[in-house]
Every structure is written in structure tokens, then in C-alpha cells.
């Protein structure tokens, strides 16, 4: 608990949370205002009800990026500053230590994601869609899962890989997951062995795009594919296994 709380405190004190969140809020404001009304396929989308699924994709992506930026360095920093010495020497197991750090990462990512969703909710009210608030709140739950996936995977990988390696792997996983639908399309267009390989590779990416789509469905009151949500939870669980069992050789 103390370790997790300290992670949150540190990110807040180091202003990392503020900077990334302010940037995120700006993007949400731009997308939510008339100034940034989207043009898709030559059609302008100004109706907030229609805009909200797209906004959810954008906000989830931003939350994921913030989660990645904040989670990747927490574990390596602990070892680099040798704070780990004072933890290990107290007989705290690596599992407990790493899991506490990961929980801190997840909590910080959630705080930042919830701020972005709150901004979105404000704009919903401004645009006269206060009736959607409950459904936006429900969609926010899926954002929590989305960012937990990124944060937990980044925490797990950062235990065993140098930051640069875990960073590259995470960017690939994040981009692949967030734009999974585009990859599916590419795989569908590709023929031969390339297409087959790509279809297999896509399965390795967490379905972040699917989670955002379900968030959009929730916000619009459409049916939700529970399978996508369960698969997201399984990814978090697997990342948790990594955090519990990945070991550093030395503190």
C-alpha cells in the first residue's frame, strides 16, 4: 500500500501527471468544440451523440499513451536509484514489491484517464447531452480496463527488459492494439503467406480498439460485446502473472 501510494505521490509531485493530463484535456476540448468538429468522408460530424464514440476512441488512446509514459520507468527507476535495496533488505518479496509499483502505475493512469473523461462529460453537458452522463460514466469503466492493460503490461515488461526494449515492445503492442481494426483490414487485403502471418500476429495485440468500440456502444446505448471486455481482463491478468513471477537477479 505504502509503495503504491508513493508511486502516485511521486508522479503527482514530479508534475508528470499534470503535464500529460493538461495536454490530454486540450485535445478533448479541441475535439469537443465546434472548432474541431470532425470531417469524416466529407461529412461534418457535429452531433455530440455521433461524435462521442470517436471521442471515446481518442480519449482512450490518450489515456493509454499517458499510462504508457508513466508506467514504463517506475520499476527501472526504483532499481536505478537503488530504492530497491531498502525494500528487498526488509524482506519484501519481489512479487509484492513489483505488484505494488504496478498498482501505483495503474492508479495514476486511472486518475489521468478519469480527468479526461470528466472533461468529456463537461462538454457533453455544454452541448446539451447531460442525459448521456451516466452512459459516459459507464464507458469510463472500459477506459479503466484499457489503461490497466497498458500500465500492467508496461510494468511487467519493465521488470525484465531495459526501458528502451520494453518501450519499443509496448509502443508496438499499444499501437497494434489501438489500431487493431486497421491491421485486421490490412490482413484482409493481404493475400498469401503475408496475410496468414499477419492474421496470426494480430491475435497477439490486446484488442484496445475493441474496448473503445464497446465504450462507444455503451455511450450510445447500443449492445456491448462482453467477450472483448473479458479478453481485456484476461490480458490484465496475464500481465499480473508476469509482474508476480518476473524476477530481477539483483536489487
Amino acid at each position: 500500500m505504502e509503495i503504491s501510494l508513493n508511486v502516485i505521490k511521486e508522479k503527482i509531485r514530479k508534475k508528470m501527471l499534470y503535464i500529460t493530463t493538461v495536454l490530454g484535456v486540450l485535445v478533448v476540448m479541441i475535439f469537443s468544440s465546434d472548432m474541431g468538429s470532425l470531417t469524416i468522408g466529407g461529412r461534418q460530424i457535429k452531433d455530440y451523440y455521433v461524435l462521442i464514440p470517436i471521442l471515446i476512441h481518442v480519449v482512450n488512446f490518450l489515456s493509454g499513451a499517458i499510462a504508457l509514459a508513466m508506467s514504463l520507468t517506475t520499476v527501472p527507476n526504483e532499481y536505478e536509484r537503488r530504492t530497491s535495496h531498502l525494500i528487498w533488505s526488509r524482506g519484501i518479496s519481489q512479487s509484492r514489491y513489483h505488484m505494488s509499483l504496478a498498482i501505483g502505475n495503474v492508479a495514476v493512469s486511472w486518475i489521468s484517464g478519469l480527468i479526461l473523461y470528466a472533461t468529456m462529460a463537461v462538454f457533453a453537458v455544454v452541448n446539451g447531452y447531460s442525459g448521456m452522463l451516466g452512459r459516459i460514466a459507464a464507458a469510463a469503466l472500459l477506459m479503466l480496463l484499457y489503461t490497466a492493460i497498458i500500465s500492467m503490461l508496461a510494468s511487467a515488461l519493465s521488470i525484465i527488459f531495459p526501458t528502451i526494449v520494453s518501450g519499443v515492445i509496448m509502443i508496438i503492442l499499444f499501437a497494434g492494439g489501438a489500431f487493431r481494426n486497421i491491421l485486421i483490414l490490412l490482413a484482409a487485403v493481404l493475400t498469401g503467406a503475408g496475410g496468414t502471418i499477419m492474421k496470426r500476429v494480430i491475435r497477439l495485440f490486446p484488442d484496445l480498439a475493441g474496448l473503445s468500440r464497446q465504450g462507444g456502444n455503451l455511450a450510445q446505448g447500443n449492445p456491448v460485446d462482453v467477450h472483448v471486455i473479458i479478453m481485456g481482463m484476461i490480458v490484465v491478468w496475464i500481465a499480473g502473472i508476469g509482474i508476480l513471477f518476473f524476477r530481477r537477479k539483483e536489487a
Binding site: G41, A188, H227
Partner: protein, 297 residues
């Protein structure tokens, strides 16, 4: 028991529960989204009927949802969907028909792939479009009887796009035909048809034989299918989406092959204006220009 052991047991039990739930919710075979799209076609058919083309029903043709590896084929008989699975007959992203023995089958991408394309229209409308091709070829042998010396859509479009004179007259044709899509003005269909035919006649003199055959073929096959598709979208999504997706830019010249879809659709709409019953006797044995000319005699 130690706290840590209890924690681990709880963690692994949670994992087991999640995995079980994951397996339980995995869709095998035809996915729910694809099924819904087909059910939409069934519902549309009840309301739209044959759209004026005698004997046309998208439900008469087997429809395969393809993920590029597997096809999930729906055979709709006596109000029941019979679903079978097979190796994909086409690789890649395909909306097409597939000749299977004496029958033509419809092949469309699975919904998951379809929405990834960012397409505006419902997949159900694409099923209507492709099944209309199946109708053209099952009942009228359209492909078999036409375009032996024809050019591919892409090649034809490239040739026209590159030739300023042919292109300019095609733009004029579209401009005149576009009057039928102008919802703000009433259209004098006969006058429009005559004006259109005059331009078409002048332009035909510039086209080689293969260009003429091919253009007539694509306007007929794709244009009429686009016309059917647009009716379905209008019914499913309302006038605003219909006008936005099909009418707004139909009369604008676009490089590539989409102009044939729009041109043919506008020709069908012109024919609707000349005689709403034109489809009842149409046997896909001549070009749409010929049919228009016949109504202007």
C-alpha cells in the same frame, strides 16, 4: 495458510474464471454481427420486395461472410438459416460473387473487417449489391453474354481519365443525369433523357469499340447494382444518409471506376422517371443507353 498463499489461490481462481468466461463467450462459426447483417437483409426483403426487378431476391443466393481464411456460408431456405463453413474461396478483402456449379454465391467480408474499412453503408446493403450481381448472372447471364473483348474496370477508367475529350463529355453526361438526383428541382425526365442521349451519341464516336462495350457493361452491371444498394440504404438509413452518400456527389466526375457506378445509378433513376415499370421487362440484354433511347422514341 499464509496470506501470500491465499492471495495466489484467489488470483489463480480469478484467472480460471476469466478464462472460462472467455471461452464461453467466444463466437465460433458465424459471428453475431454477421448474423445480424443477414437478418437485416431478410427484414429489408419483406419491405422492399424485388425492387421492381422481377424475381430478384438476395435471399435466393447463398451468402458467404469471409475473413480471408474461412467462409461462413448462409443458405436461407424456408425461413431458416443453414450455416456451413468452408475454406475461403477468395483471399483478401472481397465483395463479389462466386460461381459454384450452376449457382452464383455472394461473398462479402465479415462485419469486423467491413467496419474497419470505415465504409458508410451497412454491410447488408453490400449483400444486396452483390446479390444483384448474382441475379444478373443467374437469370440473365450478363457477364457471359457481354464484354468478351472488354477492358478491366481499372484500365477503362484510366483511359477515360487520361483523355480530356472523352472525360469532358462524360462530365457533361453526368451533369445532365445529375438533374434526376437534384431533390430541390423538379426534373423534366424526357428533356433530360434527350439531352443526355445527344451528348452520349457524340461521345460514342470518340470511343473505341472495346471502350464502348466495356463502359456500357460496367454502367449496366455496377450502375444497376449501385441503384439497388442505394434503395436499400434509403430504406435502412433514411433520406438524409441516402442523399449524402449517393446523390450529393453522384453527378461529380471522379477518377477511377466509381463514376460508372454513379452514372449507371443515375441512368436507372432517369428510367424510373421515364417509366417506373421499365424494370419489369428489362432482361439485361442491352445497354442502359439503349433502354433510355427506346423510351425517347
Amino acid at each position: 495458510m499464509k496470506k501470500r498463499t491465499i492471495g495466489m489461490i484467489v488470483y489463480f481462481l480469478t484467472g480460471a474464471a476469466l478464462l472460462t468466461a472467455g471461452f464461453a463467450t467466444t463466437e465460433k462459426g458465424l459471428k453475431e454481427d454477421d448474423r445480424k447483417e443477414y437478418e437485416r437483409v431478410i427484414e429489408d426483403r419483406k419491405e422492399l420486395g424485388d425492387l421492381g426487378f422481377p424475381g430478384f431476391s438476395p435471399l435466393d443466393y447463398k451468402t458467404a461472410f469471409s475473413n480471408g481464411e474461412k467462409d461462413f456460408v448462409i443458405d436461407y431456405r424456408n425461413g431458416e438459416m443453414e450455416i456451413t463453413e468452408r475454406e475461403a474461396v477468395y483471399e483478401g478483402l472481397v465483395g463479389s460473387i462466386y460461381p459454384n456449379g450452376d449457382e452464383y454465391e455472394v461473398v462479402v467480408p465479415v462485419y469486423e473487417t467491413w467496419i474497419a474499412t470505415g465504409a458508410h453503408e451497412q454491410l447488408s446493403a453490400v449483400i444486396w449489391h452483390e446479390s444483384f450481381h448474382a441475379y444478373q448472372n443467374s437469370c440473365f447471364r450478363l457477364a457471359e453474354n457481354s464484354a468478351d473483348n472488354g477492358l478491366s474496370e481499372t484500365e477503362l477508367a484510366e483511359r477515360i481519365d487520361r483523355d480530356p475529350e472523352k472525360r469532358s463529355l462524360y462530365e457533361k453526361e453526368l451533369e445532365v443525369l445529375g438533374r434526376v438526383a437534384d431533390t430541390d428541382k423538379t426534373c423534366d425526365f424526357r428533356q433530360t433523357a434527350l439531352e443526355y442521349l445527344r451528348i452520349a451519341e457524340k461521345r460514342d464516336e470518340l470511343l473505341s469499340a472495346e471502350e464502348k462495350i466495356s463502359e456500357d457493361y460496367y454502367e449496366l452491371s455496377e450502375g444497376s447494382a449501385c441503384y439497388v444498394e442505394s434503395r436499400v440504404v434509403r430504406y435502412e438509413n433514411g433520406d438524409a444518409v441516402y442523399e449524402d452518400n449517393y446523390l450529393k456527389n453522384a453527378a461529380s466526375y471522379a477518377e477511377g471506376n466509381s463514376k460508372y457506378y454513379h452514372h449507371g445509378m443515375l441512368q436507372c433513376m432517369l428510367l424510373d422517371g421515364l417509366d417506373p415499370e421499365w424494370k419489369s421487362t428489362f432482361a439485361f440484354d442491352c445497354s442502359l443507353d439503349d433502354v433510355i433511347a427506346r423510351y425517347c422514341e
